[in-house]
């Protein structure tokens, strides 16, 4: 459904997306994961036909975003990061407007259905300006889905709303799986893990990893990353010793100690303690760490 190949997008001299390739199949929820400025929004804007790519090809439903922009736009439902609203329209009028503009055959019925689905029917005659943030988010989703598009692109739909609503939105996104190809961006690892079938991790415009959340998640499981602080020797020597441990693939300096990452399910804590005893190095600190997204990227980057 979505085929992105060698996508490049530059703003002047700054490269926002750099040779990005990935695909998404029908019935799949693909997560774009990355910190702010990773190129998630730019990628999505290119997919929706809002921005043209600098190089590379992007196809949605078999249509190229540059040559068949209108066809692509017809097949995409889009919720930008900041829900765009017309404050002085009614809820119904707002959704009806987008339904008409996107050529929905029976707009009134479609609007009715989508408002019902997002539980907005009782507020349909209210002005948009009176809606709370969470309701606006639902309105944004209603707008993106009113024309029942094969592809739904949601740019950080859970940002800035309260936890209860976050769960609600996640459920909605999951429910889209049957009928739509969904591209979903977030900078929260756990959210992507929960919602997505596949994840593409972006950092500074580049794809640093891709795969199912299980595969990616395994690398990030608690216990596979340890913070180790050893005394008695120069850091460089300690780093060498740590790297020799069985199963450890990366060792990064952090603060006064190191973060070691290892393959597989093995807990390296025993190995580290043994190392400390064997070389007579005082063990100053040893704790498993929950890696921040930034750490993961750094880890992935060093690995790749």
């Amino acid at each position: 459904m979505i085929v992105v190949k060698d996508l490049v997008r530059r703003y002047g001299t700054h490269t926002a997306v750099d040779r990005l390739s990935f695909t998404a199949q029908p019935g799949e929820i693909v997560g774009l994961l990355g910190p702010n400025g990773a190129g998630k929004t730019t990628t999505m804007r290119i997919l929706t036909g809002f921005l043209p790519p600098t190089a590379g090809s992007v196809q949605v439903g078999g249509f190229d975003v540059q040559t068949d922009s209108l066809e692509v736009r017809r097949r995409v439902g889009y919720l930008p990061e900041r829900v765009p609203v017309y404050p002085d329209m009614t809820v119904r009028g707002y959704v009806l407007f987008w339904a008409r503009l996107r050529g929905v055959p029976r707009p009134a019925a479609a609007v009715e259905a989508v408002l019902k689905r997002f539980d907005l029917l009782d507020r349909q005659h209210k002005l948009v300006r009176s809606l709370s943030k969470g309701l606006r988010q639902r309105l944004g989703l209603a707008q993106a889905l009113v024309h029942n598009p094969p592809v739904v692109i949601l740019d950080e739909p859970t940002i800035g709303i309260d936890p209860g609503q976050v769960i609600e939105v996640r459920e909605v996104v999951k429910s889209l799986r049957q009928e739509h190809t969904v591209l979903f961006s977030s900078h929260i690892l756990s959210e992507v893990e929960q919602v997505c079938d596949r994840v593409v991790i972006l950092h500074r415009g580049r794809m640093v990893a891709a795969g199912t959340p299980e595969v990616l998640g395994r690398q990030m499981k608690p216990g596979t990353h340890l913070y180790v602080a050893l005394g008695g020797k120069a850091p460089a020597e300690i780093k060498k010793l740590l790297q020799k441990l069985d199963g450890v693939h990366t060792v990064r300096e952090q603060g006064a100690g190191f973060v070691i990452s290892s393959h597989g399910e093995r807990d390296q804590r025993a190995a580290v303690t043994a190392l400390s005893a064997r070389h007579g190095l005082p063990l100053l600190e040893l704790r498993p760490i929950e890696l921040s997204l930034e750490d993961i990227f750094l880890t992935l980057l060093e690995k790749g």
Partner: protein, 242 residues
């Protein structure tokens, strides 16, 4: 066409749902009403009523009204971010600009139509030169369209409505006062060219005195076409600038 109609309908509804638009209408009607009453009072037993009275007044104040009516149109889309949805809807960029322009023009037409009440009163109390009045109304309708197109152009440049209004006011003032260049420029040909470039230069010597000249219609249509074309290009540039 259909998409232009959909945009147009939303924008027109927007005008009629906005208190500001009615405030503008109230001020507009107060001004035209006072002018009309003055002319009637001055005319009694002295002269026939002035056939181009209201259009002549509007030729003066359209420069102020047009920015107010158009500043919101695209600037608000930029500010609210809805422009992103518009530009990702399956419609041509030109439909957005044209639909919005037509809505502003329609609202202006509505205001103009309200002033026809004065003509209706005049028909009942005297025998005004109706055809002359129609010519003047046609002229100010086109004149107004041109000023609105310029206003829309500047609304496309920025997300700040006030700035948009200010920029279009400045531009319209230049287009309006351009004919005063004759007071500064000593060269008659240059003054004539400047005069013919201005909005008033195609109203005062023709429509206002009851004459419809094809060249003036072409001028106003041309101003609208160029301003809208630039507005479309500006909107499009949003895609390139991101």
């Amino acid at each position: 066409m259909l998409t232009i109609w959909i945009i147009f309908r939303r924008e027109v509804a927007q005008y009629f749902a906005s208190p500001l638009a009615y405030l503008i209408a109230a001020a507009f009607l107060l001004l035209t009403g006072i002018t009309f009453n003055n002319d009637v009072a001055l005319s009694i037993t002295v002269k026939p009523v002035e056939p181009a009275l209201i259009p002549d007044l509007l030729a003066e104040i359209m420069v102020l009204i047009a920015p107010l009516l158009t500043m919101r149109l695209l600037a608000e889309e930029h500010r609210e971010g809805t422009v992103e949805l518009l530009l990702t809807a399956p419609i041509a960029d030109s439909s957005i600009v044209i639909g919005k322009f037509l809505s502003a023009w329609a609202y202006f037409t509505f205001l103009l139509a309200l002033t026809l009440l004065y003509q209706f009163i005049l028909v009942n109390i005297s025998q005004p030169d109706i055809a002359h009045t129609i010519a003047a109304y046609l002229g100010i309708w086109l004149y107004g369209g041109a000023t609105l197109a310029v206003g829309l152009l500047f609304s496309a440049t920025t997300e700040n409505q006030i700035l948009a209004a200010f920029l279009s006011l400045i531009t319209l003032l230049v287009l309006y006062f351009g004919d005063s260049a004759g007071q500064i420029v000593a060269n008659l040909d240059v003054a004539a060219i400047l005069f013919n470039l201005t909005l008033r230069g195609h109203y005062a010597p023709s429509f206002s005195i009851g004459v419809v000249r094809a060249e003036d219609v072409v001028y106003y249509a041309g101003v609208m076409a160029v301003a809208l074309f630039i507005a479309i290009r500006l909107l499009e540039s949003k895609r390139w600038r991101g």
